[in-house]
């Protein structure tokens, strides 16, 4: 086996009250794709941040190509050949593609930036990644996938020996993922060591050569991907049986209860559509990124204005001008963008939880502290929010637990219709199963749920019926019976059936 390019031994890192990493060993070989696996809160992000110098380490040592290193910041790590591409593309969208690749290292002649040379070299570099685009255009004119490739191009131009890809695929569609994987394979051939983080197990098995599994800040082990079956992997990651997940796989029987929401010819940013949601029914929305899933949710929540059509909730016609009106009718909307639209990172778990209830009551009638504590304790327990400390700042929680807090916030209001927009994106398998289980329980209790997810399996597993979207148009509404499979859904999306 080749000599490791990167070796971390006995890494320990402590935050106030949390031991994020505890004696973790990790090694990376040149020319391999190495997956870092673990639930949220297992210590993956911390390990990456330690490696790139964002955090300093409390114990252990890091060796790069045999030499001991201690980076004080991402810039220093970058100079040493460790580049990182994050989930949220960290580039400047207002600048051109070429500039994004070269800024900070622009080719110059007599101290003057040589724009022509810069564009030429950027185009050349992107061609190496199988990408031929106009590099003079602003980055914002391109899709997220291409922006990610540009970020990679920037990373490898800095003579990267180690490339860290932190959840690069979470917002890409299948074609874009394939393109990214082609690029990764090419880089691998060039001897670059790639550290890859993703929550999609299929992707891990497609691209990763080896993997390191973390749990609760400790090392579980290092494995060759081909020798570790998926079920065992998940077992090692969450450390408990998968019975819960499998039990969910039974198909939910169709609902025949009363109609709760009836949208007819409702349109705005999406083409007019009609949709009924019964009490206790889970309606899935399937479609690609940008197909209008979120737009439908926003229409039903009154966050966007309807240009046409009507909505009836519980038989009564409602003019959803503002989210407030929708909320008063029992509609709750858990947004896909938990960082930007949902959570207030500087507030505690309790404060975040109580926010929607307080807004509903009006600020002149504060929720009594005792009632708050009661409610918070109840939901922390019900949703298994960890750590179960209501006074912890929400930004210190892992993604999955943040998502649970956000969910709990709306559940406190006891809504009749709960709209969940990508509730499981970017969270780990364990938390995902818990949220899925919760959806089933809620719908059994009579709550209607509009469930939006990019993962078709998940939509299929939970929904009683599925509305398929394509190009901002509802192209089909399919009952979830035995004939409906992910293949059927994909075909419907691909062909845009009823056009």
């Amino acid at each position: 086996m080749a000599e490791a390019i990167l070796r971390m031994t006995g890494i320990g890192k402590e935050f106030p009250g949390v031991r994020a990493l505890d004696g973790v060993d990790f090694r990376l070989l040149p020319g391999e794709v190495h997956a870092l696996m673990g639930e949220n809160g297992a210590g993956k992000s911390t390990l990456i941040k330690v490696l790139t110098g964002v955090y300093s380490i409390d114990a252990g040592e890091i060796e790069l190509a045999g030499a001991k290193v201690a980076f004080t910041g991402p810039l220093e790590a970058q100079k040493a050949g460790i580049s990182t591409v994050y989930q949220e593309v960290n580039l400047c969208r207002n600048l051109s593609v070429a500039e994004n690749v070269f800024i900070g290292r622009e080719p110059r002649r007599f101290g003057r930036i040589n724009w022509r040379e810069m564009r030429r070299r950027a185009a050349e570099l992107l061609t190496r990644l199988d990408l031929s685009i106009d590099v003079a255009k602003p980055l914002s004119t391109y899709s997220l996938a291409i922006q990610q490739m540009v970020a990679i191009a920037r990373a490898i131009d800095i003579d990267a020996r180690v490339l860290i890809l932190d959840e690069p695929t979470s917002s890409l569609d299948a074609g874009e993922v394939a393109q990214l994987f082609r690029v990764m394979r090419r880089l691998k051939e060039q001897g670059i060591a790639i550290l890859f983080v993703s929550h999609f197990l299929d992707q891990i098995y497609e691209i990763a050569d080896r993997m390191t599994i973390l749990r609760n800040g400790r090392l579980v082990g290092e494995y060759v991907t081909a020798e570790l079956p998926q079920v065992e992997l998940v077992g090692k990651m969450i450390g408990r049986e998968l019975a819960e997940l499998e039990r969910l796989d039974e198909r939910p029987p169709a609902r025949t209860s009363d109609t709760l929401v009836e949208a007819s010819a409702l349109g705005g940013k999406v083409a007019p559509f009609s949709l009924t949601i019964r009490e206790g029914e889970v309606v899935g929305l399937a479609g690609l990124l940008g197909s209008g899933r979120t737009e439908i949710a926003r229409l039903l929540f009154g966050a966007d204005h309807a240009a046409t059509g009507t909505v009836r909730i519980g038989g009564e016609q409602v003019n959803l001008r503002t989210p407030r009106i929708a909320m008063s009718k029992g509609v709750a909307f858990c947004s896909e963008n938990r960082r930007e639209e949902g959570l207030v990172p500087e507030l505690t778990v309790r404060e975040n939880l109580i926010l929607a209830l307080q807004a509903d009551r009006g600020w002149s009638r504060p929720v009594p502290r005792k009632k708050q504590d009661e409610l918070v304790a109840k939901y922390i327990k019900a949703l298994n929010i960890r750590p179960d400390n209501p006074e912890m700042l929400i930004r210190n929680l892992s993604g999955g637990n943040q998502q649970k807090v956000l969910l709990a916030r709306w559940l406190i209001l006891e809504p009749r219709l709960l709209i969940l927009d990508e509730p499981t994106r970017g969270i780990d398998v364990g938390a995902k199963a818990e949220i899925q289980k919760l959806v089933v329980e809620l719908s059994d209790g009579g709550m209607a749920v509009l469930f939006i997810s990019a993962e078709l399996e998940e939509v299929l597993r939970l929904s009683h019926k599925v509305a398929v979207l394509r190009d901002r148009r509802v192209v089909a509404e399919l009952p979830n019976d035995d004939t409906l499979t992910t293949d059927v859904l994909m075909e419907t999306i691909a062909s845009g059936a009823a056009k």
């Binding site: 810039l75 970058q78 960290n90 900070g104 101290g111 255009k137 602003p138």
Partner: protein, 333 residues
């Protein structure tokens, strides 16, 4: 017009026309106003009218150039008007006893240091630029009155000769040395913004400061540099105002920060940072200047109409920016 259009180099060729749209609109507005004025008033459509706009607004142009750097990073500098006043005051009080070259260097240094200090506070203490520069504004204005509460005349031979020099450009056409200085500043600034790393870092920081940091760009230095540039430009603007007024006074340039911000915004620079061109700022200053000229030609109108028109224009341009940004955002989806 020609003198203006030629020296500005072609900036980034092949960039999207959408980025240029606000600049083009401002340019069209300027031409339209000039043509309309020429039709309506006798003796308006002459080259000297344009040159007078430059002569009367050279100091504003320099201040607005500094402001452009700050706004491009997504910041704001409210202290510029006060720093201009402070510069005139210090110059006027020192000139009788000190050589003029020393005075000039001293006030430039004071402007630069004030700017750098504000930039450092903004960056290292993570305080809103609005608050920090507001404090700077009160500080500089207050310092004026510690020097004196009355207007101090300037009789220094160097200053008066610069003030009285007329550079002939042709028959009946002339400009002041201040205009040359202002244009040189514009050229230097344009070069800096488009052909140096510092300039590109300004755009990057304004586009996304967090990303800029992760891309390893010197964010701290860039932010401090833009406020330093703004401070320097304010001091230089103050010197140009001293040439123009030949006096130092604590009440000079009251509200000039707002004129400068207005010029930058009308020139199409986004207040959120990351997008805009110096050419736009030049046109913005010209539009503001031309409004004053038109209103003075109208004769019967009160000069306060200038403010009303500027207010309306600002509103229109901010709405226009909003429109461009939102249509851009939906297209990106």
């Amino acid at each position: 017009m020609k003198t203006l259009a030629r020296p500005l180099p072609r900036q980034l060729p092949r960039t999207l026309p959408r980025n240029y749209l606000p600049v083009l609109v401002t340019g069209a507005l300027f031409v339209a106003m000039f043509v309309a004025g020429g039709i309506r008033y006798e003796g308006f459509a002459t080259g000297q009218i344009i040159l007078n706009v430059f002569i009367d607004n050279a100091f504003l142009l320099v201040v607005a150039v500094g402001m452009t750097f700050v706004i491009l990073t997504g910041g704001i500098d409210l202290s510029v008007g006060s720093v201009v006043a402070l510069t005139t005051m210090i110059s006027a009080s020192l000139l009788p006893s000190t050589p003029s070259i020393l005075v000039i260097l001293l006030v430039l240094a004071i402007g630069g240091v004030l700017g750098a200090a504000m930039g450092a506070i903004i960056h290292y203490f993570e305080i809103q630029p609005f608050i920090v520069t507001l404090a700077g504004m009160f500080l500089a204005r207050g310092l004026c009155y510690t020097i004196g509460t009355d207007s101090i005349p300037i009789n220094d031979p160097t200053f008066t000769s610069i003030a009285q020099t007329q550079i002939k450009l042709g028959p009946d056409l002339w400009i002041s040395p201040s205009v040359l200085i202002a244009l040189a500043v514009v050229l230097l600034a344009t070069y800096t913004l488009h052909y140096t790393r510092t300039g590109r870092n300004v755009y990057a920081v304004g586009g996304n400061e967090q990303s800029a940091l992760l891309m390893g760009l010197p964010v701290a230095r860039t932010k401090i540099v833009v406020y330093t540039i703004s401070g320097l430009c304010s001091a230089l603007g103050g010197l140009l105002l001293s040439f123009y007024m030949l006096s130092g006074y604590g009440l000079h340039a009251v509200g000039m920060e707002l004129d400068a911000i207005a010029a930058v915004v009308i020139g199409g620079t986004l207040l959120t940072g990351g997008s805009g061109y110096l050419l736009g700022t030049v046109l913005g200053v010209l539009v503001l200047g031309l409004i004053q000229t038109v209103i003075s030609f109208e004769g019967t109108l009160s000069s306060w109409w200038t403010k009303i028109v500027i207010g309306l224009l600002l509103l229109i341009f901010i709405l226009l920016q909003r429109l461009i940004v939102t249509t851009g955002a939906t297209r990106d989806r």
